[in-house]
């Protein structure tokens, strides 16, 4: 309960301790439920306030579960040159994050990589930021 109150205060000040986000992640996902999911992309929703990646994950018993992964605002990705085609259906990805508190098959995208280990959304240029690679 005490934690919930603290979370609410953070939400009201619209600033969290380490991350700016549209809402309280701490109220949505459970830090005691870390997940590592390997599977294939079935859909990417380029929607605000947060993008969501849907993926099929094969369970040890052979069944398949569809998970939803929460990501950042798509606006910034668009500015970095990513498009709807950047993460095609069927892409094999690995997601590390934390599962939703209500135990549904949703998680945050704490770390997102392709099956070969490269980052999903890195390597773009053109934002003008000092971390950018040169455009030419």
């Amino acid at each position: 309960m005490r934690i919930k109150v603290l979370i609410a205060i953070a939400a009201f000040s619209i600033a969290s301790p380490s991350v700016w986000a549209h809402h309280s992640f701490a109220a949505e996902f459970d830090p005691t439920k870390p997940v590592k999911l390997k599977g294939t992309v079935t859909q990417m929703e380029w929607i605000n306030p947060h993008s969501w990646i849907h993926m099929d994950v094969k369970n040890p018993d052979g069944t398949v579960t569809n998970w939803m992964i929460e990501g950042g605002s798509p606006n910034a990705l668009l500015r970095r040159g990513f498009t709807k085609n950047s993460l095609p259906v069927g892409s094999e990805i690995v997601v590390e994050g934390y599962q939703a508190k209500d135990s549904s098959n949703r998680a945050n995208g704490r770390d997102l990589t392709f099956a070969d280990g490269t980052k999903l959304f890195l390597g773009s240029t053109g934002t003008g930021g000092p971390d950018d690679k040169p455009e030419k």
């Binding site: 000040s13 619209i14 969290s16 991350v19 700016w20 306030p49 910034a76 549904s104 949703r106």
Partner: protein, 334 residues
């Protein structure tokens, strides 16, 4: 040469909202310069002769709204200090131990929301708030009580329903939108469009347009209250001055009452730079008025739509998470 000073870096914490990092073009940094030089070059005119503020602008900044207390009355950095401050600020990266609440979020860097991934105008200011204090003045006792009562009323009910969540989570308004305009945590961009008798400001976060008449028309009747207040503009030389009243008490900018009164000044200082200044007053909240300023730097557009409730699964998930916790607590209590 491209004088835009790229920077960016999502700040952390409370800083996220009101802090960012300036950058390279320190030589361009403009000191306090309130009522600044209004020497708008002849090029900067709209077809009907208004000073031209049009374009897409970044309001990102590494300068905090309030001056860190250890800086005392120091209002400006030297160029060297500003560079060191920038470097230090940019060195801040997400650090959170696995399994802690701080670690529970999407990857800021991978989604282009990290520091260093957007553009920020240079500034040598130590705080957006000007003057020797550099901080929001104290609240009067009545305002402290009003805000405490509001917080107390919601205590224990934070996740009862959407209406208990912050205005931002409800997609009603974000504090960066203003007035007064503040740097947003990310997508800190706005577009200004002018037409005869009007100036319109579109804020990317969170997709609101403030249409400001400049035709001399009076404010709305006092009984009409709006989330963003009622803005009326006029030109003082080449500076756009915008006067805003008629706020709702629920807007509560930094704990303000419905008597909040904001005066903003927009001055085009260069092709790529607007100086934005604001004064906030509310005798029902603060012991005195306070003022701040920040540069806006021109960026390539366009503004992207941020349809805040389009896929706001987060709201549902927050509430369902709270219900799950309540059930678990109930079960544990049996």
């Amino acid at each position: 040469m491209n004088p835009r000073s790229p920077i960016c870096r999502m700040l952390s914490a409370a800083a996220a909202l009101f802090a960012f990092a300036p950058v390279s073009a320190f030589a361009q940094a403009v000191p306090a310069a309130a009522k600044v030089a209004t020497a708008t070059p002849a090029r900067a005119r709209t077809a009907d002769g208004q000073p031209n503020l049009e374009g897409v602008w970044s309001t990102a900044s590494v300068t905090p709204l309030e001056r860190p207390k250890d800086l005392g009355a120091k209002e400006f950095f030297t160029k060297e200090e500003a560079e060191a401050y920038e470097k230090k600020t940019l060195a801040v990266h997400e650090v959170a131990a696995p399994g802690t609440y701080g670690d529970v979020h999407y990857s800021m860097a991978q989604f282009g929301l990290e520091k260093g991934q957007s553009q920020v105008a240079a500034s040598i200011r130590t705080s957006l708030i000007v003057g020797p204090e550099g901080r929001i003045p104290p609240m009067i006792p009545e305002a402290q009580q009003r805000n405490a009562a509001r917080a107390a009323a919601n205590k224990g009910h934070e996740f009862d329903g959407p209406e208990n969540r912050s205005l931002g989570e409800q997609c009603i308004m974000w504090p960066n939108e203003g007035p007064p305009i503040q740097p947003a945590g990310y997508n800190s961009n706005l577009q200004i469009v002018q037409g005869p008798g009007y100036v319109a400001i579109l804020q990317e976060m969170i997709h609101d347009v403030r249409v400001i008449p400049t035709d001399g028309s009076p404010h709305l009747a006092a009984n009409i209250r709006q989330w963003f207040g009622d803005s009326r503009g006029h030109w003082e030389g080449d500076t756009l001055v915008v006067d805003t009243t008629n706020f709702t008490g629920r807007t509560a900018f930094r704990g303000s009452s419905e008597n909040l009164h904001v005066v903003e000044r927009f001055t085009r200082q260069a092709d790529d730079r607007i100086l934005y200044q604001f004064t906030v007053e509310d005798p029902a909240t603060w012991t005195k008025s306070w003022s701040g300023e920040m540069p806006m730097t021109k960026i390539d557009g366009p503004i992207f739509e941020y349809a805040c409730h389009e896929g706001n699964y987060g709201m549902r998930n927050n509430l369902s998470g709270a219900r799950a916790e309540e059930k678990a607590a109930q079960a544990a209590g049996k």
